[in-house]
């Protein structure tokens, strides 16, 4: 099975303290460390396991700048066969649809039976997978937490739905799946693994290589635009509720409700 996995380089919220910069134009990026989006990493592991079972190849692709090559190498160290970097100044400022448009062009350069994305990213909107599928007119399932290959025409997938239940469907190939965390246990990639693939050639495609119109992608094509960043109110240390038991409870219930803590 020929598998394409779309990955993304993101600041990992578990290893960063996300702070908004002074003028609110961005988050504080000076001290950020980046890694591959967690969901994407599960997708790559799943792709590798499928390949190891039924044969084929795994290609990882990302839309990003030169530094995004780092995540492609990490996923190749994990076991992906090849990587493709989609990079162009014109891609900057793309919204979800823009990214999906770029990826669509890349998908069409190859022939894939299965295309995977992560279900979401910490700095994303959980939309690229579904958009890509619709652009390609391929069947799609989101939040996939189980994949069983039936034959080379169809697979069985489980989707994670509310309450920890799992919705099982049969889906025709080729298709697009967005992968939920927990579908597998991604293997560890150490520095040694990354060094082993350090010199593998990674092709880079720009706007013209992909035949993309200038206004379809990047800031020019974006209808959804992030204006700023700001900090949702959060204090240093806990605000201690005081007063009578009655008052405390009322205040607490009010806060819980406001934060979505009471369904």
């Amino acid at each position: 099975m020929e598998i394409l996995v779309c990955v993304k380089r993101v600041p990992d919220s578990s290893e960063n303290e996300i702070e908004v910069n002074k003028d609110g134009s961005d988050i504080e990026r000076d001290d950020l460390v980046y890694s591959v989006n967690e969901w994407d990493n599960y997708a790559v592991e799943e792709a590798i396991q499928i390949r190891d079972n039924v044969g084929g190849s795994v290609t990882v692709v990302t839309v990003g700048d030169d530094e995004s090559e780092e995540v492609l190498r990490r996923e190749m160290a994990m076991g992906a066969d090849s990587g493709v970097l989609l990079s162009d100044d014109a891609f900057e400022g793309s919204d979800g649809k823009g990214v999906a448009t770029i990826l669509k062009a890349a998908v069409e350069k190859g022939k894939y039976d299965l295309i995977m994305t992560g279900a979401q990213a910490d700095d994303g909107a959980a939309q690229v997978g579904g958009m890509l599928a619709s652009m390609l007119d391929l069947p799609y399932a989101s939040l996939v937490n189980k994949i069983e290959v039936i034959d080379d025409k169809k697979i069985k997938v489980g989707r994670e739905i509310e309450g920890g239940n799992q919705e099982m469907s049969e889906i025709d190939l080729p298709c697009v799946l967005s992968i939920q965390t927990g579908i597998n246990e991604p293997r560890y990639v150490g520095i040694r693994g990354i060094r082993k693939v350090a010199s593998v050639e990674i092709p880079t495609y720009g706007s013209s290589d992909l035949g993309l119109a200038a206004d379809a992608v990047g800031a020019a094509g974006a209808k959804v635009k992030r204006l700023d960043y700001f900090v949702p109110e959060m204090g240093e240390g806990a605000e201690m509720l005081e007063g009578s038991n009655e008052e405390i409870m009322e205040k607490l219930i009010e806060l819980l409700k406001a934060k979505g803590g009471i369904k």
Binding site: D122, D123, I171, L227, Y229, V231, A238, G261, K263
Partner: protein
């Protein structure tokens, strides 16, 4: 202003809470708009009738084949029945996430997902609030809605009365929905999660219990509170060590790292390992006897109290407030 539609999630003949929330959200887009609810399903008259209270019009697509919502089928039907350049609202839940990104492509409208607030619209620009990085940063987002928009609303974010007494009518659109049979994606079954098999990493509300519970028999009060809040029970390591709860419910660096919207820490002092497992949670409330418990450093709100007394009372109060 474009026409606004709301996709209604329903269960057992009753609309989901999001039905009211979507109406509330629509109000924030355009306070004067007449909003149309769309109900897919099999035997949905009861649902539709309830919706007429808050929606001016309720579109019904009723077919035995829709007994279980298949996003692919519903997406195709929506493309057939929705007018061009409309605004389509849906909850940002596991169905909405499955349906909407692709729908926006088919409708050639932009999509904004997981919206927590809507600031309003000006001309063809709609301004909304989203969150990134597990809620550690919020952003204002502008969306060009000249070609309509698909907007996913975070469940629970739009609290309010919605609209009352809309006196809406139900319109049967089943005939316009086109072919509603399954094709390339075929639903098989739902595998129901086993009890004790809750994935707390996916929970939005966690009622977490620690050593302060003192005895296994006392755990009942925690379960009751979790039920009242609509959340799941998680715990700190000592509770698992004592085998009072399953390992799958343990929060901490050695257990699960959780990112609920609300984390209520009860009788958890906040060991270093435990705190590592909850730092991504946007709202942490803690109840502990010890005012110096480190959990209060991390929590947003704290209460100094004995959980054995505090929790049952809180459960009761929440019950009353509903």
């Amino acid at each position: 202003m474009a026409q606004i539609f709301a996709y209604i999630v329903h269960k057992e003949g009753t609309p989901d809470d999001t039905a009211v929330e979507l109406r509330e959200a629509a109000k924030k887009i355009d306070s004067n708009a007449d909003v149309t609810a769309i109900v897919f399903g099999s035997g949905v008259d009861a649902v539709c009738n309830q919706l007429t209270e808050s929606y001016k019009e309720v579109w019904k697509i009723d077919n035995a084949g829709l007994a279980y919502p298949n996003a692919e089928v519903i997406r195709r039907a929506l493309v057939s029945i929705l007018p061009p350049d409309c605004i389509f609202l849906a909850p940002h839940d596991t169905f909405g996430m499955d349906l909407c990104p692709g729908l926006s492509i088919k409708l050639d409208s932009p999509q904004i997902s997981d919206v927590v607030d809507i600031e309003g619209s000006e001309g063809n620009t709609l301004k909304v609030v989203r969150q990134e990085f597990s809620g550690m940063a919020s952003t204002h987002v502008n969306c060009d809605i000249s070609n309509g928009a698909v907007i996913n609303i975070r469940p629970g974010s739009f609290q309010g009365e919605g609209v009352k007494g809309a006196g809406g009518q139900v319109v049967d659109k089943t005939g316009d929905a086109g072919d509603i049979s399954e094709s390339s994606r075929r639903y098989l079954e739902v595998v129901v999660a086993e009890v004790g098999d809750v994935d707390i990493t996916k929970s939005e509300i966690l009622v977490s219990v620690g050593r302060g519970i003192e005895d296994q028999d006392n755990l009942e009060i925690i379960h009751e509170l979790a039920e009242a809040m609509g959340g799941d029970v998680s715990c700190s390591r000592p509770i698992v060590d004592a085998k009072w709860l399953e390992k799958s419910r343990q929060v901490g660096t050695s257990g699960q790292t959780v990112k609920p919207k609300v984390y209520l820490a009860l009788g958890i002092s906040g060991s270093f390992q435990h705190m590592g497992g909850i730092k991504g949670s946007p709202f942490i409330a803690a109840v502990n006897k010890n005012p110096k418990a480190p959990i209060f450093q991390l929590a947003d709100v704290g209460v100094v109290a004995d959980i054995l007394e505090f929790v049952p009372e809180l459960t009761e109060k929440i019950g009353e407030s509903k």
